[in-house]
Symmetry: C2
Subunit: 479 residues, 2 copies
């Protein structure tokens, strides 16, 4: 919990563990972003002080409102600024005064747009803003961003995130829409637990690199996902990413593989993109996982958040649906990082014992078609056998939402087998339920139980391949 | 509507337009597949006769039940058989008698498994079954399948399809799970309209090739989607597919690209897969679209079902979300079949007139970042300008479920601009809403209005690339 009193937080902690937050530009009427940010902080039960600031209001959502940050009585470590761009300079000067007088106000998130992304005049404004704050010793995230959040404490400077399942995935993004998209997408099935979030916007001061280094030390962050368009100091970013990747997975989605994509990135955040090949080779060497598509980024981040790392690329495919199972085998065999597992004679024998006579085992090796002749418990029984085989590093399980089986019983059976694994030798299990919303309830149970579910076999295969890629890089570092 | 009396249907029409259906093996108690099939036919308001057959029941779901097919009084063109494999031979003999005595009973769907897919003994059983029916002039779909359906008439021999939105997509599949998965996946947002469906199972008689030729003549089929594992006569299949592709799109998902995938396919349906390269080259020459993944198959089939064909590969990307828009530009530029459009000076000028000053137009050419500074109507206004530019063949539109805009107003604005197009020169519009269920309502409105929506930019880009591939093949044929 964040305390409203106590010592001032140091460095970037002022963004992520402030004693109090001033929301500068919070209107009394619903609708505006400032009002919304106050509402969000109330909904997420943020425990620190929340201080609306607006000379034209005396109260916002039941909280006293102050004419400027200078009048806020409590400790304000972080100011969120949503006033129009030119007025931000006035606010910056007030923050500087406050910092000089009170010693707090160490951090500002400027949400407002209208700066470098709009052209030369905006860039001048941004430079002035950054100068004023820097001279006062105030760090700046933004402008033109959604700012920061921490799902564990309810901290948020975004106007539409809402309470979010807390977990181990921290996200850094040069696109507010991108990161919100991921979180909204994952929300209904609670497919990812969020730790810290920073939408960095124009990066006039605090950079992706600095935030990434900060997250390396953050104990609740298990994986860092980054949407990257371009940074000034590409070399420094990659070096930091390499350092972090030795401790926890770093997943990057970086458009700009093509010249056109590079130009779009440039017009979006005003950052100069370095040639893509520089990043690509450096990431590979650094053990940074580069997701190739949006869907792969979502999948890889959430897999690292909750699944154990595979020890190698030997995959067993366990299917109750012949067609999708066949597609899955094809995809596994096409991925250079993966191979179908070779079942031990004991495994084949045990599988035959728990499966129907109609089932086919090991055609090809590593593949089990349970067929539709099964009960809910069969899923867990077969999975248990596979997880106990030392020649299997990971299992992809495909099952329909069974027309004749209880969906929740199937999910429970799978979860039990997964959880019986000894924690130090646990293997990842990726569950594919290709039936869209018809499989919603089973997917939710599995996700809540700590497994990762997917709609398409190809998705699960690609995610697993990226996990193996990272595991292999880790082995390399440890030698 | 199907009439319970009138002339006997000819050829495969006995499967798709029977005057009456006998469900052999329908139990009085809910739960079994036969009972379920009767329930489905009632739920879908199938207008033909429905005759449960079971010596141990007198009534099933309010319908009189007959001891064998020989006692059914009305015309029975199609028998659906769900009794255990050995008993199927008895039913086959009864069907043969009936056909001789009454002249109907021209078609049978054998749903039951336990035939060639289980080994030599099952194969013998299957051969006997096929021989008996063939000798009597009865065509057979299956065994080991879900059989046939027609969403326009409510015909179904499946036990878990339910009433389905009717439309122009016909599906042929060597995996029941695969085709059910697609239909269930698409159902909540009504992302595809179904015409005819055949899950062919072991293909002891009626083959994929014959069904495909039948669908070529079917006026309500606008696109044929096929899940193919392997056929005996690969050459004949490809030749037929090539003929059909000249008239309507044929989309194939065929695993077996790898040796392991080929073996999995073989163990699944017992079909011998021809070397994959034969198919691959032949499909390309034939103008048959080969989907590379499950998700691509789903997307391409539904795009062909409802969108006009693009004339070429010149794409405009219209985005309200900078990050996903940038990813989309990258994906378009990476697809050999697609190019970013070159805006005419008039288009650029008109775009600037309808967009905010913050928007960027043509950086790179073909790309518009509307930014968040927009109202609902802006979407339609900008789309209209792009659709009127002769240098634009298709538009990919990316928008968030807007925090400050009315989702339905955005959808309506897009739909209006799309529908104003002259029908003979209409261009496809693919809408990307990356926010998962948060965008459900807008997606539903757009899909109902005849547009295709996607969760990920890469999905839309790949689907469009396959559409262009087909359009180019059509041009080639017409020269």
């Amino acid at each position: 919990m964040v305390e409203a009193c106590g010592a001032a937080p140091q460095g970037l902690d002022a963004f992520f563990a402030p004693r109090g937050i001033a929301v500068v530009g919070a209107s009394a009427e619903p609708g505006g972003p400032g009002h919304q940010i106050v509402a969000q902080l109330q909904q997420t039960h943020y425990a620190g002080g929340v201080y609306p600031v607006n000379p034209r209001a005396t109260e916002v959502r039941g909280l006293p409102c102050y004419p400027t940050v200078l009048q806020v009585p409590g400790s304000v470590d972080l100011a969120v600024v949503v006033v129009p761009a030119p007025a931000c300079l006035v606010v910056a000067a007030q923050l500087a005064s406050r910092r000089q007088q009170r010693g707090d106000a160490a951090a500002a998130v400027v949400v407002s747009g209208g700066f470098a992304e709009t052209g030369p005049a905006g860039r001048d404004l941004q430079d002035q803003l950054a100068r004023t704050l820097r001279a006062a010793g105030i760090r700046l995230v933004g402008p033109n961003c959604l700012g920061v959040a921490d799902a564990h404490t309810g901290l948020t400077t975004s106007f539409d995130l809402g309470p979010y399942p807390a977990g181990g995935a921290s996200l850094l993004s040069q696109s507010g829409a991108f990161v919100m998209s991921f979180l909204q997408w994952a929300r209904p099935l609670e497919m990812v637990g969020l730790c810290k979030l920073a939408s960095v916007g124009n990066m006039a001061d605090v950079s992706l690199t600095e935030l990434l280094a900060y997250l390396a030390e953050d104990r609740c962050t298990r994986v860092v996902g980054i949407y990257l368009e371009g940074v000034q100091d590409a070399r420094g970013f990659v070096q930091t990413a390499a350092r972090v990747a030795r401790r926890k997975p770093v997943v990057v989605l970086k458009p700009g593989r093509t010249e056109a994509g590079g130009r779009a990135a440039q017009s979006h955040t005003g950052t100069v993109a370095s040639p893509d090949a520089i990043y690509d080779g450096a990431f590979r060497q650094a053990g940074v996982v580069r997701a190739r598509t949006v869907s792969e980024f979502y999948g890889v981040v959430r897999a690292f958040e909750r699944l154990p790392l595979p020890r190698g690329g030997r995959v067993a495919v366990l299917s109750a649906v012949g067609g999708p199972g066949t597609v899955c085998v094809d995809e596994v065999a096409s991925e250079p990082r993966l191979q179908l597992a070779r079942f031990s004679p004991r495994t084949s024998q045990q599988l035959r014992a728990v499966l129907s006579e109609l089932a086919t085992v090991g055609q090809p090796d590593g593949y089990v078609d349970m067929t539709g002749a099964l009960v809910a418990r069969t899923h867990g029984d077969a999975l248990r056998v596979l997880l106990e085989d030392d020649g299997v590093d990971a299992v992809i399980l495909l099952t329909p939402p069974p027309a004749f089986l209880d969906e929740q019983e199937v999910a429970q059976s799978v979860l039990e087998a997964y959880r019986e694994q000894p924690p130090d030798r646990a293997k990842p299990v990726l569950v594919v339920l290709t039936f869209g919303d018809a499989a919603m309830a089973a997917r939710k149970t599995l996700e809540k139980g700590g497994l990762c579910t997917f709609e398409f076999p190809e998705e699960a295969v690609r995610v697993l391949a990226r996990m193996v890629e990272y595991a292999q890089a880790r082995h390399r570092f440890q030698r």
